[in-house]
């Protein structure tokens, strides 16, 4: 665990330790918003954005507030509160700054507040004892990893909607989970590259 390079962490969190495909976090929105590439992209970008910001913010909250006061056991509450507040703040800033960006992200931002992958990334950076820059790399990488996974699924699903005959019993979440499993198996192929846990 000693001093992993930030690029190692960045690439590992995209490919070998993808937060969605290896830890199965953030499944609910992954399953429900992956029907079309366009919406998947919107949600994915919003996740990248929020995950990066909250990882860094929660790093500060943990090491500069909870650790000095010996309140590590309160990390869950503290992290969730910070995530909720930051999402609100980000939403307001985006609303003010760019109508176009707000139109693309606006409806997804509140959804993300309750995305467990966001909380998960904050918890992992504590468990894995990352420093500030590692946390930044991990947050950004995990976000991009999540985006990669949902885009892959959305691509496959939109193609399947046109071409494939899925047996009725497996329609919807059933076939999506099977596809996800196969994507996850595919990502195991990367595991020789880098490894963080």
């Amino acid at each position: 665990m000693e001093q992993l390079g930030i690029f190692v962490i960045f690439f590992a969190s995209i490919f070998t330790s993808n937060i969605l495909l290896t830890n199965f976090l953030g499944m609910c929105s992954y399953l429900s918003v992956s029907r079309e590439l366009k919406t998947a992209w919107g949600l994915g970008i919003a996740v990248v954005f929020v995950m990066t910001v909250t990882s860094v913010a929660n790093y500060f909250v943990y090491y500069y507030l909870l650790v000095p006061l010996k309140l590590e056991y309160l990390q869950y509450i503290a992290f969730i509160v910070v995530i909720a507040a930051l999402v609100q703040l980000v939403e307001m800033i985006v609303d003010r700054v760019s109508d176009r960006l707000y139109a693309a992200l606006g409806i997804f931002l509140p959804l993300i507040t309750v995305n467990c992958a966001i909380l998960g990334s904050s918890l992992f950076l504590v468990i894995r004892k990352y420093d500030l820059f590692q946390s930044l790399a991990f947050g950004l990488g995990s976000g991009i990893g999540w985006l990669t996974a949902i885009m892959a699924l959305a691509g496959i699903r939109s193609k399947m909607a046109r071409r494939s005959k899925v047996i009725p019993a497996l329609e919807g979440p059933g076939i999506v989970l099977i596809v996800t499993g196969i994507i996850a198996l595919g990502f195991i192929g990367f595991s020789g590259m880098v490894q963080i846990n």
Binding site: T39, G42, L69, A78, V81, M92, R96, D99, R100
Partner: protein
């Protein structure tokens, strides 16, 4: 002692700091100041940052909206001339390609943030906000009620039979902000100082719970209107009305608005669909109307009568009942009101029988 105090205080401190940051951000980021909004040739000075629909409502300009800003009814379309963002993802499913090119937007989705200009039909300025007193109630079935209101200010309302109003359900109990819901008037339009609504109780519905459980006789209510283009067209074609449940409301208004000459000439027939006997209401009133007006026919039909309903009238799907009663559809117009399922089924049947789609009229509230 500290073991309890420090954690509580630090979490409280953290949330307070975050709350203050959000409040400051809201104060400075969300404050767009006063902006000019040009509507046709008028100019309003409005507070920026709100949706166009609500901004106009504050200026007493009422754009029709049946869904209450949820981007489902698509009634609140206006022509945005300048000053608005690009088309939003929530609008795209409800706008046609031509509308997007013509800058037509959903006023419940776009926000007024800077100087902007829109165009609306001139008649929308005629829509007013009314105050009225809740006068009396009549239970029609176990879940449908008729509400009667007497107008206070303005004291009279001019509307075409079949149009609807937007009822304002105020804050009560755990409901923290007013909501607007669309209800068709079921009253005689010549009675200009009263309106009547037929409302079906929606389980957990904000406005219907208010009407059924909270509103007391004598209390004041607020509504805006009249809205909608569901009214009797001035032709000499035969009138075919189909309704289910509280969808009877505008049909009742339309029928009461027809003169006996018109009725004799246009031979209106009204199909009313209900599940079983207990969902059927006002049958006597309609029978009375049949007796006093030559040419009018009322056909109640039950889709699944209970064994002890003792029902001898029509049964089965309302669409089949229509086909059994009307032979020649070529010179007919359709007036429909009811659930989306009923509307779709009836439009399909009437079109397949040869009534052009533009001669079938209905409101989409759901």
């Amino acid at each position: 002692m500290n073991a309890f105090l420090i954690p509580a205080l630090s979490i409280a401190g953290l949330t307070t700091v975050l709350a203050i940051i959000i409040l400051i951000a809201e104060r400075y980021l969300m404050d767009y100041g006063e902006v000019d909004l040009h509507v046709n040739d008028k100019t309003f000075h409005v507070k920026g940052g709100n949706t166009l629909l609500n901004t106009l409502k504050e200026q007493k300009v009422f754009i029709p909206s049946a869904c209450g800003g949820r981007a489902t009814c698509a009634y609140c379309k206006v022509k945005a001339v300048s000053g608005f963002s690009e088309v939003l993802p929530t609008e795209i499913p409800l706008l046609t390609k031509e509308e997007i090119e013509a800058n037509v937007r959903l006023s419940c989705q776009i926000k007024v943030k800077n100087e902007a200009a829109i165009e609306i039909p001139e008649e929308l300025f005629r829509i007013k906000e009314y105050r009225a007193t809740y006068e009396l109630m009549r239970d029609l079935t176990y879940d449908i009620r008729l509400f009667r209101f007497k107008l206070i200010e303005p004291a009279h309302i001019d509307y075409k039979a079949g149009q609807y109003i937007q009822f304002r359900s105020p804050e009560y109990g755990e409901v923290s902000e007013p909501v607007y819901r669309a209800y068709s008037m079921c009253s005689r339009c010549e009675d200009k100082d009263h309106i009547e609504l037929m409302v079906r109780r929606v389980p957990e519905g904000i406005a219907t719970t208010y009407l059924f459980d909270h509103l007391k006789v004598g209390e004041e209510v607020v509504f805006t209107g009249p809205f909608g283009d569901f009214y009797l067209r001035d032709t000499d074609r035969r009138v075919i009305c189909v309704a289910g449940g509280s969808g009877m409301a505008p049909i009742r208004s339309i029928m009461m608005g027809m003169t006996s000459q018109e009725i004799e000439q246009r031979q209106p027939i009204f199909f009313f669909g209900a599940r079983s006997r207990r969902d059927l209401f006002m049958v006597e009133e309609w029978r009375e109307m049949e007796r006093t007006n030559k040419g009018f026919t009322f056909v109640p039909a039950l889709s699944s009568p209970e064994p002890d309903d003792d029902w001898t009238g029509e049964t089965g799907r309302i669409t089949d009942v229509i086909s059994r009663h009307v032979r020649d559809f070529s010179q007919c117009e359709g007036y429909l009101c009811g659930s989306p399922g009923l509307l779709n089924a009836c439009v399909e049947v009437l079109v397949s029988q040869g009534i052009p789609e533009e001669r079938i009229y209905y409101d989409k509230f759901a």
